[in-house]
Symmetry: C2
Subunit: 308 residues, 2 copies
């Protein structure tokens, strides 16, 4: 009989899983019975972090049961990213760092969104506000979330608050930020068991830019050329999705977090927009190297928006 | 050339006006140029508070000008309660204590909603978080907002945090909470210059309860019998609105904040729901005394909801 469930978004990433785990511990320390859960599979990067700090993944749920009194959303607020029966449950809190949209409650709640790079940065601050000491394990989980969302503090979404939190947390967790961060990102970048369909769907988001339907899939890799060994198969899946979804543009973005750039593959009737947006030429394989581009939200969508 | 405007909701009340004023001062103290404005007339209660603490009302605006970079919403978040061109402006922050709904941004922002009785209570906390000392005047304004929203700490919407803030603020402002609070509420309850139409519209909210359209107007008074001297004229306006808006129920709630109860007048095809909801009988004048009922949100809407 859970009083309160805490969960992040569907297709969970490291921030979603770790923030749910750590916030549940904070709530319990403050006397509120709360249990972390998840809405999807744990990815390799997150599993690496959990294993490193000896923490079990939260339990998977399909829907919120009737006997749950409250839910707390972390790392998201838009209902379409949340549990399927979110409309039927009582949301007591939201802790997030995204835009606010497609969200509604009947009653006042505790709703805390800050424009930082990671939910974990807000949770680190909340431990201080409540004078609760972070365990070594939980500091490691919050650190992992920041490394993941900021690509080791290099993404333009990363703020000064995220950087300061990451250094503090590395100290408490007893790890070297740079060394651990690279290990974790490399574990997540192991794409050896992924099919072409996996690659173009595992982290894909759809946007309406101007009047155009644009899909942008992103994968992190240590060696982007390895990914493109299967370019023919990747293109086939992209073309099928372009036709199925009526997309004007499908961008597949292979981001090298060591070099801090992205090798993109552009298909669709509006693919020339990519050339203007980033001042590059697509080669005969429909690809281009975007130097210094790692953030889908702050760099790719923003630059493309000016072209549509 | 304003960088940032701060404003509360349309039909401003004391919390909306005072929170905009005080938060602008806090922002300025923290180095952000911000200017408070308002979206409607200052009511008598708020004017009493402004006069008492020697503060000018913020300037009235009709819309946000093109050269404004950011707006900060206080005491509301729903777009229909905000400035008419809210969809076209960049919202950088929200500080509020209501439910979250009908709100959307493209970018992450600072969005802070806490389930307390008054925005001013959150602002008092934010001064402490930022180690900024409240002036006597600003403490007086925040205190006035809490007294207004909580009907002198008696409303069921009033939390422990609101009570503690009110006592702290009275100390800084150098006023006696009870004495000043009654003076301010009485100033607001001077309805001598109001027409019957004013009375039924000045603080009216529409709700969809079950399938029914319900309008609930509320006025605060020191002597509710005086209001009902013009009951015939009030009923005439209510009947016109019932017909114009297709309402199933119109409740006119005259709240006596000294006695802590409400003398309600119920019209419409669903008026018998009021009898069941509050276990009372409407008299020959369609009125009933609701003992201990002062909150539209927490008592009237909640109790009615169970009947529809």
């Amino acid at each position: 009989m859970d009083k309160t469930l805490i969960f992040g978004h569907k297709s969970p990433d490291t921030d979603t899983i770790c923030s749910a785990l750590v916030y549940a511990d904070l709530k319990n320390a403050l006397g509120l019975e709360a249990r972390p859960v998840r809405l999807g599979d744990v990815n390799k990067e997150t599993q690496f972090a959990l294993d490193r700090f000896g923490v079990e993944a939260p339990e998977l749920i399909e829907k919120v049961d009737d006997d749950v009194d409250n839910v707390i959303l972390v790392d998201h607020n838009e209902f379409q990213q949340s549990v399927d029966n979110i409309q039927d449950v009582h949301i007591s809190e939201v802790i997030d760092h995204h835009r606010v949209a497609n969200f509604e409650t009947k009653e006042p709640l505790y709703f805390r969104v800050e424009p930082v790079g990671c939910t974990a940065t807000i949770l680190n601050k909340m431990h201080k506000e409540n004078a609760v000491i972070l365990s070594k394990e939980n500091a490691g989980l919050l650190l992992s979330a920041i490394i993941s969302d900021s690509l080791l503090l290099k993404s333009p979404t990363c703020t000064q608050a995220d950087k300061e939190a990451a250094h503090e947390l590395a100290e408490i967790a007893g790890v070297d930020l740079e060394t651990y961060g690279l290990e974790m990102l490399k574990a997540g970048a192991d794409l050896s068991d992924k099919s072409a369909l996996d690659l173009v769907t595992m982290d894909a988001k759809e946007f309406t830019i101007g009047e155009a339907n644009v899909q942008i899939a992103q994968v992190n890799a240590v060696d982007t050329s390895q990914i493109y060994e299967s370019q023919a198969a990747i293109e086939q899946e992209m073309k099928r999705l372009i036709s199925d979804k009526g997309l004007e543009l499908f961008l597949f973005v292979a981001t090298d977090f060591l070099e801090n750039d992205s090798d993109v593959l552009a298909l669709g009737s509006a693919k020339e927009k990519v050339e203007k947006a980033f001042d590059v030429s697509l080669d005969a394989n429909n690809r281009a190297l975007l130097k210094g581009v790692v953030s889908r939200k702050k760099q790719i969508v923003t630059n493309l928006s000016e072209q549509f």
